[in-house]
Symmetry: C2
Subunit: 98 residues, 2 copies
């Protein structure tokens, strides 16, 4: 299992609309092969910032399966216009968990 | 419950020693009031980068309880010399979880 990690900065005054769009977008991503679960979190110090953590069975489920799918076009259309700047997405593997 | 989030960049060639020190540091933080659990993850694209996620019952368990404790001095002595640059630590609250 790997974790997709993205810090999402949403334009000022758009956080409510972003959260509503994200609710719809979850249905798209959660139907993808290899999707395990996700969590969207909001920053206390900077409330227009979010952290997205998505667990995938394998790296390629995200980088190849999801990103090359028609579903990704719908995901992008729903969400990408909220981001300023466009996020850097990285992938992480667990080292230690209590 | 809130999540403490830090991206940790460890100096080149020091990742094995960092991971070993972190194993010791876990015993310190996990004994603190309000600590729930943590995960340390390692970046696939940039292997000297880690993501630390710590769940605390309340924000103040981290920002006041842990950081003002003698335990934090031991934690810092074990870990802080690995970081370059010194990390920005933020706190997040869950918006949505599948």
């Amino acid at each position: 299992m790997i974790t997709e990690v993205a810090v999402l900065n949403v334009g000022d005054g758009r956080t409510k609309r972003f959260e509503a769009a994200f609710q719809d977008a979850v249905e798209i991503i959660s139907a993808m092969p290899g999707f395990i679960d996700l969590e969207l979190q909001r920053c206390l110090e900077e409330p227009s910032r979010y952290l997205l953590l998505v667990h995938w069975a394998q790296l390629e489920d995200h980088t190849e399966g999801f990103r090359a799918s028609p579903a990704y076009e719908r995901w992008s259309a729903l969400l990408h216009h909220f981001y300023d700047p466009f996020p850097v997405v990285e992938h992480y593997d667990s080292v230690l968990r209590t």
